[in-house]
Symmetry: C2
Subunit: 276 residues, 2 copies
Amino acid sequence: MRDRESYFIEKISKDSRKYIGDDGVLLGDYIVSSDSFFEDVHFKKSWMSLGKIAKKSLLVNISDAIAMNSTPKYMILNISIPEEFKLKDIDALVEGFLEVAKKYDIKIVGGDTIRGKKLDISITLLSTKRGKIVKRSGLKRGDIIFYTGSLGSCAKDLKRLISGENLKRSKMIEPILNPKFFYEASRFFSSAMDISDGLFFELQRLSKINRVGFRFFSSFDKRIGCSGEEYEVLFSIKRKDQNAIKRIARKNRVTLKRVAIALRGRFRSYCKPHHQ
Amino acid sequence: MRDRESYFIEKISKDSRKYIGDDGVLLGDYIVSSDSFFEDVHFKKSWMSLGKIAKKSLLVNISDAIAMNSTPKYMILNISIPEEFKLKDIDALVEGFLEVAKKYDIKIVGGDTIRGKKLDISITLLSTKRGKIVKRSGLKRGDIIFYTGSLGSCAKDLKRLISGENLKRSKMIEPILNPKFFYEASRFFSSAMDISDGLFFELQRLSKINRVGFRFFSSFDKRIGCSGEEYEVLFSIKRKDQNAIKRIARKNRVTLKRVAIALRGRFRSYCKPHHQ
């Protein structure tokens, strides 16, 4: 149940509402964001190589940083390494982290390394803002909602992984981020977030935060709307900026899907939470 | 074995040596520090109430912030909550976190809450510096090493916990921090750190970082020297500042133990790592 976690968040943040609810928070010079990637919660070791696990744990964090319109600079890594790991397993992990850190020019500055039962990773990123900070709030009635890329493959691939299939290429293994598109297009965004819990669930969040409902431009199957861990970007723009955004998408070879227009009302997801 | 974790840290930090090795790191306006507190690694649920677990997980992080001579301001909380937890269990956790956060005036600004098998907590603190930053490096030959309070009770109490005894009052359950003493005395410190892995192990770290050995003023039993999770402060000062530091300690009702003088040489701990 997501409920127990929501209950915790509700209670723990009662004195700090103004900070909670976005992918990250601005503190001094940095946007700070944090995500965990735990064995048997977010992944099974059999699903992908250790290098891929390390990469994904960092990429999903970078996705949050990008979604706030910030550039990740520093990384705090808390990791529990299973006791049975061999040195070559550790090498594989390190290689994965360093490959992504190098690509995005992120310095690893601290954290905590412990010996545990499972491979559990929590990462905190400190990122510098670029132009205006993009938040989940800011969406107004009349704005048009889009997402990047396509949705649905991750739910399908998750099923295949659970059934024991081996996947080579999948966004479920390695999310595809489009920082260039985001950074260039962000000046038009009235709100944005990454799609980690599925389109419908993120729309429910947008609905709640911005007190809007949606009129959909087409119908979205639950195989699309409930597919989590897509790490595509969900964003809203003014109606008049649609051509500008399409141009930037074409230039960056990003496809866009027009989802809905924001209206008076309320939207609730009917998907089951995708992490058990 | 600590070795595998050291190997990981060695490899992962090869491009970022200048950041790694202290209790925290200065990034922009903040000292950033992070520590994990995992079930079956750092504690068993049978050892203490959920409120005490939450409190300790935060206190050990505050200990790091103090040891860098900084005031904790913001907290990022990553927590895995076991699926069988009832709402009252969550209330107990929240109460523990909020009690300490309130006492130290720390705002909870983000993190990640997941549903897992175990109660695993990782906290990252952003703290503002007060005067000079105190590091593990900076210790010079001729400096005198002290620690605060007394050592040994935690190893003893850990054994009692493992054997199933119930402990009411113990530093093993609730570390005692002395921020007032630290902040006032810190201008005299040439180096400082908190004692989380035991006196001898921390001295080994000081020896390695500062390329010094130690001549001890008295002999320290391994029941003292190998006792971890004490969260007392280990610090060094110039010989001439000994009276000043003793005055500040008396004023703050902190006892001090004079450990050693730093000399040419090298010191190695012979303790077994205390987390398996």
